[in-house]
Amino acid sequence: MLTHLLAGFANVFQPLNFLYMTFGTVVGVVIGALPGLSGSMGIILLLPMVYAMEKSTALVMLCGIFCGSMFGGSVSAILLRTPGTPSATATLLDGYPLAQQGKAGKAIGTAAVGSVIGGLVSCACLILIAPQLAKVALKFHSADYFALALFGLSIMASSAGKNVLKGLMAGAFGLLISTVGTDPLVGSARFTFGNPKLMIGFPQLAVLIGVFALSEVFTQVQGGIHRVEVKEQNVTDFFPNSKEFRRIVLPAVVGAFIGVFIGIVPGTGGAIAVFIAYNVAQRMSRHPEEFGKGALEGIAAPEAANNGTTGGALVPMLTLGIPGDTVTSVMLGALTLIGVTPGPQLFVNSPDIIYAIFAGMIVIQFLMLIFGLLFAKVAPRVLQIPTDILMPIILMLCVVGAYSLANQTYHVAVAIAFGVIGFFMKKYHFPGAPLVLGVILGPIAEKNLDRALQLSRNDWTIFFRRPIALTFIILSVVMVGITFYNNAHEGKKKAGKKA
């Protein structure tokens, strides 16, 4: 493993790889800081670039965007009291009060240190867990893969947040979308209504561009010009002193492990991890009364958890081809563009790519620290880019991104159509992530269900006779059950409070 990892470092330190990795990190930090934009949109905007790149170059750039955006969200949370990404929400609880006290630099510095600790812990876990999980996954039968896809789909319920039913509906709609076009089993046309263009179905990436990026453009056009007002801030004195460092290191490490654990569970992600880490840090603290008023632990712990989810989310994506969160689902689509199929075979056939990702993830943490703090200096000006300039440019980049998928305007049309669908989903409070999970996991579930039944000569008990498949099926039932129970319990609690 060490030899592979050293080769990975040699790979990422090649000038071109290093340059694009740095570029990706910077883009990620800036995109993450801009409220309304996220890491998934960052990857979408840079999609057309990945064609011209070597696989490992493209991958480390995408990882840079992923990690950079996670940290970037905290900059606007601290300076503007507006989290750039949902997972930076907990950071503003103590980051903004600290900035109000004239210590914006210290708050951003603490967030950066927390992010690096979280990122490094998650890298270590990724390096240790992913290859072992891949070894297990090599033994998977098609019945196991179907059960795994079912488990991924059951996550739709938990990723829906407050409204489980709407999440499931969005997921079912995603599954339906995945069935349009040439069917993967016998190659016949399905739901194409005689339109030859529909034979290729709705391309996953065009759907993602529409749901995650164009829907935002269509939503924000209703708000008109929106210029963020940033007060003059004293963004200096970044690094915590040794006393402050000792105070934040333990909550940050604990937060990092919470982030890794939650990141590994498909469909969860940073937004959940940060609040758990924040609560744990408050309980661990000798000064819990300082939380909410500018406690450094209250910034470091959620930021560590936030970045901890990055390595965690990559574990199921790289080993099983199941996205850990929204950003990794977009990344999964991007991988298919450059001919990389995530799964256990990737560890056997292309260890150079895998270890370039591992090494890249480690290096990115330090790049994020350097460029994150440099960005913090200019952030008050960058964050004032008005939406009337930013959004039309994003629209243009989305159009270019969708077109470059296959040099066809059909892909652009699909992206626009799903931009409209995404707009209405937002309007009526349907989450977008389950739809994407449905689109990605639908074909995997269908192919493996068919293969498993063919191999067992239509014996459905195959899914209950194989221990791995049975485990995933039980986990799926438990996951949906817990989510429905929690939802009903919360509803009762609210009703009780009102009474």
């Binding site: 057309p48 670039m49 064609y51 011209a52 039913l165 709407k166 509906m169 079912a172 709609f173 599954l175 339906l176 069935t179 069917d183 089993l185 016998v186 016949s188 399905r190 739901f191 164009l214 453009v217 269509f218 924000q220 056009v221 209703q222 008109g224 010009i225 008005p386 939406t387 009337d388 300039i389 959004m391 039309p392 440019i393 629209l395 243009m396 980049l397 159009v399 270019v400 077109y403 470059s404 040099n407 305007t409 652009v412 049309a413 626009i416 931009g419 409209v420 707009f423 009526y428 639908g442 579930a445 269908e446 269900l449 068919d450 293969r451 039944l453 063919q454 000569r457 239509n458 009703a495």
Partner: protein
Amino acid sequence: MKKKPFSDLVIGIAFIVLGVCVLILSSSLNKVKLGIGPGGFPTFISVLLMLLGTVQTVSTLRAGFKAPAFTADRRQTLLFLCAVGLSVLYVLVVPVAGFLLATPVLVIGMMMLYGNRKYLLCAVISIAVTVAVWALFTKVFMIFLPAGRLLR
């Protein structure tokens, strides 16, 4: 129990209708002896759509729903429709006019929809960004954006 929006009821019914349509269409797909065949998975999805649609409809009816409100902000609706219309028009025009001619129009149009009234600034930014993106993609990344029939 808190009343639900009328849209929840409409969406619930729409899911049931969609499920029925998918079920009918799936039944006409090829059948196979072994495995699920092309119609198997869509049939499962159609049942799921009908089931979820029914739960949504029944829960909305049980909770009660607010009377349908047709008080949507006209200006906002118009802005959304114009943005979508402009994007659709772009898809139709770009194969003829090409990326270099059609894109600045799309960007200027969107800037104006977003409320920017500095027309000269809009024009300069949109042309500069379009040319920069075109040069970057065609010269550096070797991705050929639509040239259009007009410029050939």
